[in-house]
């Protein structure tokens, strides 16, 4: 036996002697995970301080579950569609080209009962930035019930760059849990490589973190992501972020560095012009699917979302709004969207998941669907290079062998992610269940039919 082998054996024997209370480990780890999710959600732009990037796989960790306005920066006219299901103006998102010219309205709270509309947020952001060309202006106002934010593509003549700002009112429980400090603490450099990160405390006790890092990468390289986060002791948090590219994904780097210096980012954050945002009335229960705050019960199990420790009491704008699609509604909508001529032989599901088994006369075929709000964080991972539909939805088609290891299984999947973060993914099998042998050669529905189901406007109405 070589020395290496002897040592390896001795190491194994030693390691195997250790034991501990595994349950306590799991519970402790679980709680930490929940805290991390909560912390990451707290900043609209992904929360650099909480982002963990590992090199095991590419893009393992994506911006906050709450969604990343920069990431979802989309072509003109395809911004968030947070318009109320009833067609009202409530929660209306601003799109490029719409009026965004009233800076003073921001300070005065605007005409909407103290609310700060998206176009006002955009105007204020622009007023605090250097001169340049602005395009792709989008945002969400305080009346939406989601986390208010504004984003623009800015060009000072040296290349287009995405710039965005977001506002978050932390709940009392979140403040007590140390979230203010957590979200303004520099990340572990071994886990999140960055070029610079500083934390300072302002005269009013607020903490400011400035961060120069990279987008989604475990190594330094690619699109740069610079961010400043300001959080007050009472839980008012603002974060502003910028990239040296017009969008987080799918656009090349346009300049060596993002356009604004850390001092400029700080000036933007500390402007009194934003006071009206935090003074705006809180909106209860109006968040729309995919909006940043509307992430309760995301797991569809009826339990609170992993990041929520205080369901129903969260003071963060929009956090009180349930966004989980109702299980029965998902199923009945799926049934309504099935093509004519197929017979439904079984159905089930709960939460955001539903399935039906259909038979067109050639054998059973299971169709399943997940309707998931707030899935912007998988945009890069699942939809890189995916086809973009005219309304800004990205569409991906996959043909696979199924994921249960049954020989001969064919699984077709139409996967869609809307600009507001609502993911609708429909899969069809050539069998009645995922565990049975195939009952037919291909699923009963075609790609076009599955795509039509996934992209139906009806899913947005469920919330």
């Amino acid at each position: 036996m070589s020395y290496e082998d002897e040592f390896g054996e001795a190491l194994r024997r030693t390691g195997e002697e250790f034991s501990t209370d595994q349950r306590a480990l799991v519970e402790g780890g679980h709680e930490r995970g929940r805290r991390m999710v909560r912390r990451r959600r707290a900043t609209v732009f992904g929360g650099a301080a909480a982002v963990v990037a590992l090199g095991v796989t590419s893009a393992v960790v994506l911006p906050g579950i709450g969604g990343d306005p920069l990431q979802s920066a989309s072509p003109a006219g395809s911004a968030e569609s947070a318009q109320g299901a009833d067609g009202s103006e409530k929660g209306k998102a601003v799109r490029d080209g719409e009026s965004a010219d009233s800076e003073k309205d921001t300070r005065e709270g605007g005409p909407a009962g103290g609310h700060v509309r998206a176009e006002q947020l955009i105007a204020t952001l622009k007023s605090l930035m250097p001169k340049g060309q602005f395009s792709e202006e989008t945002g969400l106002g305080t009346e939406s019930g989601a986390i208010p934010h504004a984003k623009v593509v800015f060009d000072d003549g040296k290349g287009k760059a995405a710039v965005g700002i977001g506002f978050n009112r932390l709940s009392k429980a979140e403040v007590q849990s140390g979230l203010v400090k957590d979200m303004t603490t520099c990340p572990d450099e071994n886990l999140v490589p960055y070029d610079a990160c500083e934390v300072s405390t302002l005269s009013d006790g607020s903490r400011l973190m400035t961060f120069k890092g990279y987008e989604h990468s475990s190594d330094k390289g690619g699109t740069k992501f610079w961010q400043a986060v300001l959080a007050s002791p009472d839980g008012h948090a603002i974060d502003v972020g910028e990239r040296n590219a017009p969008a987080e994904k799918g656009s090349a780097v346009t300049r060596p560095e993002p356009p604004l210096s850390m001092a400029q980012l700080k000036d933007i954050l500390t402007s009194e012009k934003w006071d009206a945002v935090f003074a705006a009335p809180r909106v209860e229960g109006t968040a729309k699917p995919g909006s940043e705050g509307a992430d309760a019960g995301k797991d569809g199990s009826g339990k609170a979302d992993p990041g929520r420790t205080d369901p129903g009491k969260g003071g963060t704008a929009g956090n009180d709004a349930p966004a989980t699609p109702d299980g029965q509604a998902v199923r009945s909508t799926l049934l309504a969207l099935l093509p004519a001529g197929v017979k439904v032989t079984a159905q089930g599901g709960d939460g955001e998941y539903a399935y039906v088994v259909v038979d067109d006369g050639n054998g059973a075929s299971m169709i399943q669907i997940n309707v998931q709000p707030n899935m912007d964080d998988v945009r890069g991972e699942l939809f890189a290079g995916a086809e973009e539909l005219p309304d800004g939805t990205v569409y991906s088609w996959r043909e696979s062998d199924g994921d249960k290891g049954v020989a001969g299984t064919v699984m077709w999947t139409a996967d869609t992610l809307r600009p507001d973060g609502l993911r609708v993914v429909v899969s069809a099998f050539n069998s009645g269940t995922q565990h049975d042998a195939p009952s037919r050669k291909t699923p009963a529905l075609t790609e076009e039919q599955l795509k039509a189901i996934a992209t139906s406007a009806k899913w947005a109405e469920l919330q």
Binding site: Y3, A10, V26, G29
Partner: protein, 171 residues
């Protein structure tokens, strides 16, 4: 496609299944500091929770978790401004089980004589059976650096342990 409702349960099952191995790895990485080991494992499980939905789809979450653990340990070691503080007295506590005390003490003592990175290389290579390349990937260093560290660490261990290791291994 996994039903979303099963997500949390799947994570907990994973954590329960992997916590023992992670803890043992952590104990070796820390040279027997069971309190630090527990902390690192909880940090690792927390980070796994954060990325669970994606890792589960990507595959091999167990290997991923081991990588997170090692990096968390290296990050911890780096944060310690005082650097490694080899201790003559090994920590004792609930982390110990009855067993081959002499081997454990001897080996852990020797491990504590290594730098954090060398120890990580040793644990990855000889406890987790990772290849040179895999070890390099986990540690964000080159394969050549891993070879160098590995050779150096083994030589150092041989020096510290003397020729007695074979007695333990051969039992």
């Amino acid at each position: 496609m996994r039903r979303s409702g099963e997500w949390e349960q799947a994570y907990l099952e994973f954590a329960e299944a992997r916590s023992r191995q992670l803890y043992r790895s952590a104990c070796l990485l820390t040279g027997g500091d069971t309190h630090l080991a527990e902390d690192l494992v909880q940090e690792t499980l927390g980070r796994m929770y954060l990325v669970w939905g994606r890792v589960a789809r990507i595959g091999n979450p167990a290997g991923y978790a081991q990588t997170v653990l090692v990096r968390s340990y290296l990050a911890h070691a780096r944060r310690r401004s005082s650097g490694e503080q080899p201790s003559a007295v090994l920590p004792d506590g609930p982390g110990w089980s009855e067993g081959d005390t002499s081997l454990r003490l001897t080996l852990l003592d020797a491990l504590k004589g290594l730098s954090a990175k060398d120890r990580a290389v040793v644990v990855l290579r000889y406890w987790e059976d990772r290849s040179i390349e895999e070890t390099a990937d986990v540690m964000h260093v080159s394969s050549a650096a891993v070879r160098t560290r590995s050779t150096r660490a083994l030589a150092r261990l041989r020096e510290l342990l003397g020729g007695g290791i074979g007695e333990y291994a051969g039992r």
